[in-house]
Symmetry: C2
Subunit: 353 residues, 2 copies
């Protein structure tokens, strides 16, 4: 079995994690290695669910903090094994998010007596359909294991704090008509032509940019797919525009759907996928204390992340991890070494006596 050395430095540990291939649904090897490495530390209580590992201290501290990261990656794209150029680590998962995982594992190993109780979560299947998500499964099966006052999700955020996240909703807008041979098109009714008005409204859309806890969010409404057509000589009787609405966390899913139904008034709409946003929660004491420790101004998180799962459990949560999210899922994925070291140092300083 591949083993991890938690006594090495955080950068070397990142490379060890990256070099264990762990595309979604193939996390057994990396989860086994994580479990075996953490089992060596008596100050941690381990629980495993599938390929999700939870390690907890239990020191009776008045406050508990979760540090979480997913172990899986998107598919390999000729970008393994890892490479170190002195400034960046390159390779699949360096940014999203094994450098964050390495910080979590280093802190788990080193902080035998932290100033707050800690819950470390390394979970499976974040990069695929939500139904497989290890953190989501854990929240459903063992909510007590996740109970905490504050959570830090170590997704890449340029080693700064990104607070909250926007929600996402996907809807299908279906126009219908009547088929006819295109040589006698006046016998039918063209469903694709009717979709023109849907696209026109999208083009005219102006994004809402609400300010929440001092952070300016930025919504988006986009056609992500359009499909219609029967044959090259047939007037089509159906066209489907798939629209993705990214909504600021001051809107619930119900409000988001209401907005879409009004925006596309007169059209047949079906919600096919939805996930709530997460309010930044920067007014909570644990969040404030963390922000003070980190320093610098927080930013809003535009993309949806698993912080929303903590919000659902009533736990304020932020994104704070090494790496630029724009490099996630790219073939030339990379992470600045300085980011990894910065995140480790900030958290260690905040959690150590």
């Amino acid at each position: 079995m591949t083993s991890l050395d938690l006594t090495t430095d955080v950068v070397t540990l990142t490379r060890q994690l990256v070099d264990i291939e762990s595309v979604s649904r193939h996390e057994k090897e990396i989860a086994d290695a994580v479990e075996a490495a953490l089992a060596a530390y008596d100050h941690l209580t381990l629980t495993r669910r599938g390929h999700t590992i939870v390690a907890r201290t239990d020191l009776g501290r008045p406050e508990r903090v979760v540090l979480a990261g997913h172990l899986d990656t998107v598919p390999v794209n000729a970008n393994l094994p890892s490479r170190d150029d002195g400034t960046f680590l390159h390779g699949l998962g360096t940014c999203d998010m094994k450098s964050g995982d390495a910080v979590i594992l280093k802190l788990a190993a080193d902080l035998a007596e932290p100033n707050r109780d800690l819950t470390f979560v390394l979970y499976e299947a974040e990069e695929i359909e939500a139904v497989h998500n290890g953190l989501g499964k854990l929240a459903a099966s063992d909510p007590d294991l996740l109970a905490a006052d504050f959570a830090i999700l170590m997704e890449p955020s340029n080693a700064g704090v990104e607070a909250g996240c926007q929600g996402t909703m996907r809807v299908e807008i279906r126009t219908t008509g009547e088929r006819a041979h295109s040589a006698r098109s006046w016998m039918g009714s063209n469903a694709i032509h009717k979709a023109g008005e849907v696209l026109r409204r999208l083009e005219a859309y102006e994004a809402r940019t609400p300010v929440i806890d001092g952070l300016t969010y930025h919504e988006g409404l986009n056609a992500v797919f359009v499909a219609g057509g029967v044959a090259g000589n047939v007037v089509p009787d159906e066209c489907v525009v798939t629209v993705n609405y990214r909504f600021a966390p001051d809107r619930t899913e119900v409000e988001a759907e209401k907005f879409l139904r009004e925006f596309f008034d007169g059209y047949d709409i079906t919600v096919v996928d939805t996930a709530p946003g997460a309010l930044p929660g920067l007014d909570r004491p644990a969040a404030r204390a963390f922000l003070e420790a980190v320093g610098g101004a927080p930013n809003p998180k535009f993309g949806w992340t698993d912080v929303a799962r903590f919000t659902v459990l009533g736990i304020p949560a932020v994104n704070f991890g090494p790496g630029d999210p724009l490099f996630a899922h790219k073939q030339d994925e990379r992470v600045p070494i300085a980011d990894i070291e910065h995140c480790e140092r900030v958290l260690r300083d905040w959690l150590e006596y």
Copy 2:
């Protein structure tokens, strides 16, 4: 080998032809049967190219007429063998166009001394991509075999004369943008949204209806496909609208393309498929004589048919065949028995001394 009996009546012969399955690219059996049946007649000179059979009289008449029909059908759809309910023949190919083929074969067998020289063409692969079309191949390889003063294509036309045909042109209209994550959509540019204006123009299109040789044509401009999208969370960078323009035969392909480029001014257009229309040519003496013999008013042909191939060769041509074209390619395909008998009688009267 399945054999055809050309001494039987035209309705029975239609059923014999229908019961030889001959989906496009599988015409060997039916072409063999046609060739063998015609070989019995000394007044005909046969030529075979692939699965296309040409039979000609050579009596030195001052005028020559082509009678043509394709032997293939669209795929079987649980609509074989044929069935006779006393009023209609039912089954794949009854309408499109083995009843027309049966008329051709009956006349070829019976008219040993017609008043005009006759060229009978039974050809392969009309129902698939034009490159396989037996009549098109023949026009390219043996134009002399098709030389004539007038041509009758026995495609279904309700046993009346449908003159000329509209041209068809398919273009792809491509809009481009820039990809971005849909959570930060303002970093990109949505190509699907840009297609809205293309669809808006299509919806506002008003069809031209020119009158040619007394016949009113009716153009059409339709999106037949639309496709765009990369992933459910990505602002798409390309969208393609495929448009089919059906144009009246007073427009050439060059003029049709010019019209489309003006209509979609500002957009990137690629012509992917084109076929010229055919002028009705009802002013030509041979066409006039035929119209007089048939009686009744001719109609314009809206759909594209192989008559356009004769027009390219400088031969006036009309559609004249049994059956309602609306039943072509339908599972419940059928042909009125009276139509078959009418077409045979009209042509026999016109061609016999």
